[in-house]
Symmetry: C2
Subunit: 581 residues, 2 copies
């Protein structure tokens, strides 16, 4: 994260480019050339928290994955006739059974995936990877797998942290990155864009920013959806998992941004309607979002787009005395009806402690002023964000936020802290790889909470996290609403075993459900959270999802093996809510 | 509408209170004591348009429904054992087989209903009316009808214009008005209220306005949902049909306002979750809204509530030169991201012609100024509304609307016209009864449209309406969004036969679908629009709704007889979209 040289001991952070076709090129985050590592003060903090010494950072903890992927023990088992059929559909060049491209789409990006790949543990592998280019090709593939009973998986951007993309039953994986990433149409009158779901965040955003040049539009537009995984996630992934961007407080989550969707299902084409609102029975758009590849393969999406007007953005940051006061202020900001801020993020004391260092506030005079003014370390809370929209709208929000923050005893730290946050917003995930080389795991769990239960969830989940050995847990509230918010837990701990990670993760997930929160605000369910879903929703409620699954895909060919818990044996399910038994 | 005496001939408008237990007390709108009739200039306009004379207004056109309801030819057919069972569940006093209470819940409020009742034509009648008081009672009733195969209907406020409440198969109707209308809880921290679905608009709004007194709250709140039927519709009806209030551009439709729902279904209790947003599979809240009593009976609803701050409201009205210019201005207001106006309503030239009279602008000097300034009758368009929310937010919207209106050549008519509109906003439905006594029918059809298709839908639907004999069709755009809006057609015509009305209505509905609009933005589907639904959504898409029906209520006991087209024979369905065949 910093290029400033260390004064003391500096670990040998892995800064080499991950070799082509290496394991590392698969499990590490994003751009193979980019590396991020902690600055010295953070490194020291970490050693202290985890009771580690420089000695622990002398040697890599296990394999760092530089070897080339070769899987002679795991050949493709797909019969030749299926291969021929797939080649006939998409063309010879877009079907492969080679080792590397198969492994490249086998895992997502949860810590469980990283730890397994670092250990060379390959639990799942597709038999064949197909790169479709058109809606019709995907429709033909879905019809083919339905006819022949072949498991079908979809790999969008691969940033899933729920084992959503993992082909646990083998079969076919559609890698959408290569060819299924085109803009299909743009409509300035309706302010919509229609895309193929394999398009990445930057591909979409660039097209919209360049709308004048690309589409002859009158002005530039933005997609409004910027998850931390923005650069390496796909629109399709956003949609089928019900994702949210960091600016969702203003722009909405993807479930607000999607106007219509087209799927290739085992029953044929399923196309939702594109009207701004309807009263024509249950909302089919909202029924397909969240289906996570289990009802059909998303082939086209129409998104609402927004005017690109960064010149109206007002950045702000405040420090509050404590969590309770700052939560109350955040709630007032959400409920006062002054309009919604775009980024809106409140860190709890433990996160604030870390973030002030991460944003380099510890290198400035502000650090000492804070203590003097009574904003005490491990009590104070950092709140930051920025507004978007028309100029007067944007200013009015910032004005109200300022008024409410001041009334709650908050002190402005100006927009500088926000700018530091912005700089790191898409690159923080790179830290995970660098730290994991020394056995320090960073991962996140998020949940959705109502205001009235926020303090309880925060307290109870953190208690459970802290009871786990050597754990830093930082928490922030983001994606806020008048009725509640997302609570985001980042845990950092010494961890070098995939199974131990899974158990650790499950313990936190249990705590989230027991505390009364919903187990996902925007990461989705996938296969990793699947065992908890029926227990969270309730038996009759969950049955509606299963009824839909059986309508669309009664033979369970689409994303089989635990997605949404749909084909899990009862014995693997977890029920934690007494009221939902 | 006016108490000003006519100068010329005045029809003998029916001003008497509808006698208790009379047919009129059932088919007429709302408060039995309240009467509204057109002022002289409007009466003259109408005669001219419909080629009617004073002679046509000398005598009532058929029966005005003053007789007492007596239905000896239509006895209740429910077996005694069922009656006993129902009495055991809700209590002796809350089960009736008497004629009047049965007929009182047999019809809704479409013109088809009014014409049938005026002609004494009773196509449907429940065998028994039950007045449940608690969630548990409703759950027991649903379990009972499921066990015994008895049709079950629900009557909320009775303002359905889709035959949604009509018990076409007899059986039981639950009349929710009497006892199922309580506030269950209020949470100021989350800004939510939980109610029984039989609660009416005013009961809910009063409770919220009086939150300080009633719930010990810190301030007053509002529900934000004000359909034209506000005074005589129920929260349950709003929810299960996906209704929208006239202020929905700011507050959202009911599908935005609902936080969670509880249903009694044949499978047991179905309770959706109450989190502000989730990524836990398909959205179950959005799956139940729009189910129109076909999946279960709604027993509890939690709604988001809003701060009551009418002091921040800014009223506006503008006149534009023509429909095209005004539509473009409205679109700019929706897309410029300055925040959303609360009421936002643009009338087309034909409606403007009528509305300027209805709002008494024809009695002021403005009337002549308009012509002089080049705002020509039957070209000019009236645009009005008001803003809500925090003061700066509200003002900023009004400021932007003014700027955009001016740039498009609009002239301000001040907030006075808006105030006139507000005065009539809940009482206009009373006009229908007064006019229908003389054979003049007023009814409405609405649809959802994208901006890019707005001009086409407006033109094509109006052409079809005008091809029908002696029809005034006024159109406005309301419930607006960045991607489109609701188009609302009000048709006024000579009409005294229910079957002719049905055919007439169907012709317009066909035109709406052919033009590419969605056939309902917020009225819902019920039994009247049921034949068109599969054709509009598509076969595979519609099948998902049927799969849910078969999951919840495989024996079709809940709201049977065509609701959402679910149990209609194929021969009665209408398919108008070639792309959805």
């Amino acid at each position: 994260m910093s290029t400033k040289p260390y004064k003391g001991f500096e670990p040998k952070w892995v800064k080499e480019v991950a070799p082509a076709k290496s394991y590392r090129s698969i499990f590490r985050w994003g751009d193979p050339e980019y590396v991020k590592y902690p600055k010295e003060s953070l490194f020291k903090l970490m050693k202290e928290k985890f009771k580690m010494t420089d000695e622990d950072f002398q040697h890599y903890d296990g394999d760092i994955g530089m070897a080339e992927v070769e899987l002679p023990q795991m050949p493709s088992n797909i019969p030749q006739k299926h291969l021929e059929a797939l080649k006939e559909i998409v063309g010879e060049n877009f079907v492969t059974t080679e080792d590397y491209p198969r492994l490249a789409v086998a895992y997502g990006k949860t810590g469980y995936d990283a730890l397994r790949l670092r250990a060379g543990r390959i639990d799942s592998l597709p038999d064949v990877v197909v790169y479709p280019g058109t809606t019709e090709e995907v429709e033909r593939i879905v019809a083919y797998v339905t006819e022949h009973g072949i498991p079908l998986y979809v790999y969008g951007g691969g940033s899933s942290v729920t084992r959503g993309v993992e082909p646990v039953k083998g079969g076919i994986s559609l890698d959408m990155r290569k060819r299924f990433n085109k803009v299909l149409s743009f409509c300035e009158v309706d302010q919509t864009i229609t895309v193929q779901p394999g398009i990445s965040g930057p591909q979409l955003e660039t097209a919209l920013n360049e709308a004048v040049k690309r589409f002859g539009a009158k002005r530039a537009y933005t997609c409004g959806h910027f998850p931390q995984s923005f650069e390496y996630s796909s629109v399709g992934g956003w949609v089928v998992t019900r994702g949210a961007g960091q600016n969702s407080t203003y722009y909405g989550t993807i479930s607000d941004i999607v106007l219509s969707q087209k799927y290739a299902t085992p029953l044929g084409v399923f196309e939702t309607s594109h009207y701004p609102r309807e009263a024509t029975g249950p909302d089919l758009n909202q029924l397909m979002m969240g289906s996570e590849g289990a009802f059909g393969v998303l082939t086209e999406v129409t998104l609402k787009v927004f005017r690109y007007q960064p010149e109206n953005r007002v950045r702000f940051s405040y420090i509050f005395k404590d969590w309770e006061t700052s939560m109350a202020a955040a709630r007032e900001m959400m409920q006062c009806e002054c309009g919604m801020s775009s980024v809106f993020r409140l860190s709890d004391p433990e996160e604030t402690n870390l973030m002030l260092r991460l944003y380099n506030v510890d290198d400035t005079p502000v650090w000492n002023i804070l203590e003097r003014k009574g904003f005490k370390d491990m009590e104070r809370c950092l709140f930051l964000g920025f507004t978007d929209g028309e100029k007067g709208f944007s200013k009015n929000i910032a004005r109200n936020i300022k008024k409410i923050a001041k009334a709650a005893g908050g002190m402005s730290l100006t927009g500088m802290v926000t700018k530091s946050w912005e700089k790191g917003r898409f690159t923080d995930p790179y830290l995970r790889d660098t730290l994991l080389d020394f056995g320090v795991m960073t991962d996140t769990i998020e949940c959705s909470v109502n205001w009235s239960n926020m303090a309880k969830v925060h307290k109870e989940v953190r208690e459970v996290c802290h009871a786990l050995p050597n754990t830093i847990v930082t928490t922030h509230m983001s994606h806020c609403y008048p009725q509640g918010a997302n609570l985001y837990f980042i845990f950092i701990t010494r961890m070098d075993d995939a199974d131990r990670f899974k158990a650790y993760h499950a313990t936190i997930l249990d705590a989230i459900q027991k505390s009364g929160a919903s187990m996902s605000h925007h990461h989705g369910i996938g296969k990793m959270f699947g065992p908890w879903l029926e227990g969270q929703l309730g038996h009759v409620e969950y049955g509606a999802i299963r009824a839909l699954k059986e309508y669309f895909d009664k033979n369970y060919n689409l994303n089989p093996g635990g997605t949404l818990g749909l084909d899990l044996p009862e014995s693997e399910k977890r029920y934690l809510r007494a009221d939902k038994r």
